[in-house]
Amino acid sequence: MKSFRILILFMLCTLNQLVAQKKVRYDLYVRDTLVNFAGKEKHAYAVNGQIPMPELHFTEGDTAEIFIHNELRTETSIHWHGLIIPNEQDGVPYLTTAPIKAKTTHLYKFPIVQSGTYWYHSHTKLQEQSGMYGAFIIHKRNAPPMKEYTLILSDWTNMKPFEVHRRLHMANDWSAIKKAKIQKGAVQSYGDAIAAGSLKTKFTNEWKRMLAMDVSDVYYDKFLSNGKPEIEAPQFKAGDKVRVRIINGSSSTYFWLNYAGGQMEVAASDGMDVVPVPVDRMIIAVAETYDVLLTIPEDSVAYEFLATSEDRIRNTSLWLGRGTKQLASPLKPLKYFDGMKMMNDMMKMNGNLDDMGMNMSLQQMDMNVVMYPEITGEKEEKKDHDHDSRLDNDRYNSNALSDIVTLNYAMLKSPVKTTLPAGPTRVLNFTLSGNMNRYVWSIDNKTVSETDKILIKKGENIRIVLYNNSMMRHPMHLHGHFFRIVNGYGDYSPLKNVLDIMPMETDTIEFAATESGDWFFHCHILYHMMSGMGRIFSYENSPPNPQLPNPEKAIKKLYKDDREFHFMVQNDFASNGNDGEMMYMNTRYNLQAEWRLGYNDMHGYEVETHFGRYIGKMQWLFPYVGIDYRYRKMGIDEVEKNIFGQKNTKDIRQALCFGVQYTLPLLIVADARFDTDGKLRLSLMREDIPLTKRLRLNFMGNSDLEYMAGFKYVLDKNFSLSAHYDSDMGLGGGFTFTY
């Protein structure tokens, strides 16, 4: 008996050694490069000369040794997405791992303790958008061989990611104008609204202080399958069942997936197996991975696996098989105004969302179905019957509305029990919050840098109840852990590391705290993360992290990301003078300057500078202090009077001012202020009312009896033609430069 035990022990040891000895080494060289994905040569990052980064393959039980050779002039980092990994290998610079400085090499070394479809990407600034994403595939030990194919989807913009990010914060609608070139009505201007018979809808939308509704913020020039607009996999034959490992490595694009060869069988999500479920179509959130089993029905035909961006502007395809190409049905354009109307119904005047008692969760009720022609029909029919279907719980349930089966989280079931080990449970409630107009994204209205780390203890179970009170969906990702999505399958709830949560949904996830160190939990839309939508979970009494000798100093670097200030400037070069403004702002603060420079002394020169802070969740309130400077040559005996009877006779005026701005319905900004000369001024202003795709209307009036109204015609992302009438300077025309 004893010898038998020894034998067993011996066998285990050798087996262990055999397994542990299998080291898999990769060398990755990160370099600057020029690429041409969409008609123009642009800067990007290539790793070993390619975009996406090389597909890495491992087998469960291997030890990974990955050398990152940073040949850039800036620092970088690599995060191993979805991997269970020692904390200092997780690759979030300044939080878990040392940043990889320019011209240095960093070794990542960790055991591979799981299997499935994962990926890796840079976690530094906006590098991911420029090509730093790749597939990380871990094969099961002793799994029967199966045909498979890895597909990594991504989005490409010819605009610098820094510019994309800056413009998002400026509520600039240039990307909608670009979309409108492909899809009529994407700007959702008043003109578009009239054409669609939805003027009232547009008006209500602005009354509720919303800008044009969109399902994605960024205009992308191309979507890519393994780095190409279209890619072919001719190696598959009729009858083959192919495991396609799909990774959404894009920075901010959700994709609809459908297959020309029939249904898709969903077999795994985020690396973890699920009980196979057949669907006609599915959406893949940013950063999610899905394994789907696709059958090739015929030889001499190539079947399209079509990925369409959620805004349906463009798509990218993989062709499975060789021969005549069988197209999948393309997705028809969104019915924007139906979406806008739906949004109006859901939006309360105070900016909170109202789900009308629908208890939404797990992607089952997709409010956007009102915009999908394939589910809700091509056009709205005339309302010939008054029936309040709002009470109807299935109104947004696409599986009840059509015979097309769409995947949702309620359909995912783990093949094995996933119950958490016994232990104390802590419940955390998070409300996802956002402000589209200023592009502020947060949790409980606080950004990462505005909150402390959330302390957790090893051995606890953490349950997070998430509610999405923002107008966009968010793919929330937890580093270094799998969580269960509590979805009605009880003990067999699926394990994932990304949870897509739609507006107004409440979802519950839970995980066992089994690690140590600090772990990031954040929205995986790159621009939301960089704006501060996240939290840090920190294990109490963790050992010091050798990679970060000064953690207090390091974390400040991480906090810098969402504290970043963005700059914008605009000047109207008109025949009757110059008008302009400038803003330098971040999540809460804004330094503004406005000027009016005439071409002679009589017209005068005027500069007002403000510094203030946005208050409240919706940031409609903005108190400020500022300095005004004005020079204007007055005629003899000329007196300026305002509606309060206050007078001015001086040529030069310098004053300190205190004021407050408030955004009213219809996005009109009211401004009230008084200055150290005792002057009071009230004004109302609205900028950029979209009349047509490119035509914008501005107006302003104040209690000094000054007023202005003007038109702008947008030529490109920087220039507009303009014409305006100004009470001081009269009629003028010229062009406006916007940065």
Partner: protein, 283 residues
């Protein structure tokens, strides 16, 4: 700096102060090519040529030869793009097979016979109404299986507010009704069938002949009622539900039969999709 210059030039050109003529050498190379494109009739010709000229500078389809002649500038487009556009409009060609949904949407006269390969390739496409309508007569357990299947196809077309499909499916329903094998019915079933068949045919013909969705829906009320009576007598192999929409026909209400418990209203389409309730179940 270079960018700036370009922008200012564009701007000035736009204002009209300076007119800059683009001196780019125009690529006058025009490629002419011929491709096999399936199709039937004059209407097909129009659709095919319109689709092709979205990309090509010129396109002509020959009905006899089933060939499309295209001219295009290779600097601007390519044969793939042109033939893809043709396939999206519903027509199989030598490079692309049309999506099943695009093919089914073609008007009756344009539904050309697809090649065996295209047919086989599309048999799994997610157009479920089409899956249901191919009843293998050998395996039929119930004599009226294809009649029932076509009734549901008509219903699904009405749910989608698709008058064309409703009409074509209704014509097929008419045929199926004429082809029911009486010998496979027992005495009771025969009695039931004979009682309703002429009314069923009348409504099927009316729906088939109309392209006006509101007329079709009117006839669908009686068609549904009679169909349900038949289904009660000659039970299908699955559960059916008699659903009721209280609003239709100025509040008089109307019924329809469905295979699913989920409500999908054929009388109002997307607008009132889930209006209505199950009033009876027949297992």
């Amino acid at each position: 700096m270079k960018n700036w210059k370009i922008k200012i030039t564009t701007l000035l050109a736009a204002i009209g102060l300076v007119s800059v003529s683009t001196l780019q050498a125009q690529n006058k190379n025009v490629v002419k090519e011929t491709y096999k494109v399936s199709g039937n009739c004059g209407m097909c010709k129009k659709t095919i040529e319109t689709a092709a000229t979205k990309k090509a500078s010129d396109a002509e389809w020959s009905e006899e030869k089933k060939e499309l002649k295209v001219s295009y500038d290779p600097g601007k487009t390519n044969a793939d793009e042109i033939l893809k556009a043709v396939a999206y409009s519903g027509y199989d060609n030598e490079k692309y097979f049309a999506p099943q949904a695009a093919y089914s949407k073609l008007p009756d006269c344009c539904q050309y016979e697809r090649s065996a390969k295209a047919l086989a390739s599309n048999k799994n496409a997610y157009n479920k109404t089409d899956k249901e309508q191919s009843p293998g007569s050998q395996q039929e357990k119930v004599a009226l299986e294809s009649v029932y299947a076509l009734y549901f196809s008509v219903k699904d077309a009405l749910v989608k507010t698709d008058a064309n499909t409703a009409s074509s499916k209704s014509k097929e329903l008419m045929n199926a009704l004429s082809m029911v094998k009486m010998e496979s019915l027992n005495a009771d079933q025969h009695k039931v069938f004979m009682k309703y068949v002429s009314n069923l045919k009348t409504d099927a013909v009316s729906i088939g002949e109309s392209k006006d969705i509101s007329k079709q829906r009117e006839h669908f009320t009686t068609l549904s009622q009679n169909m349900y009576e038949v289904m009660k007598g000659i039970k299908p192999s699955y559960t059916v539900y008699l659903d009721h929409c209280p609003m239709f026909n100025d509040g008089k209400g109307a019924n329809w039969v469905s295979k699913e418990s989920a409500i999908k209203n054929p009388y109002y389409g997307s607008q009132m999709m889930t209006c209505g309730k199950i009033s009876e179940t027949s297992k």
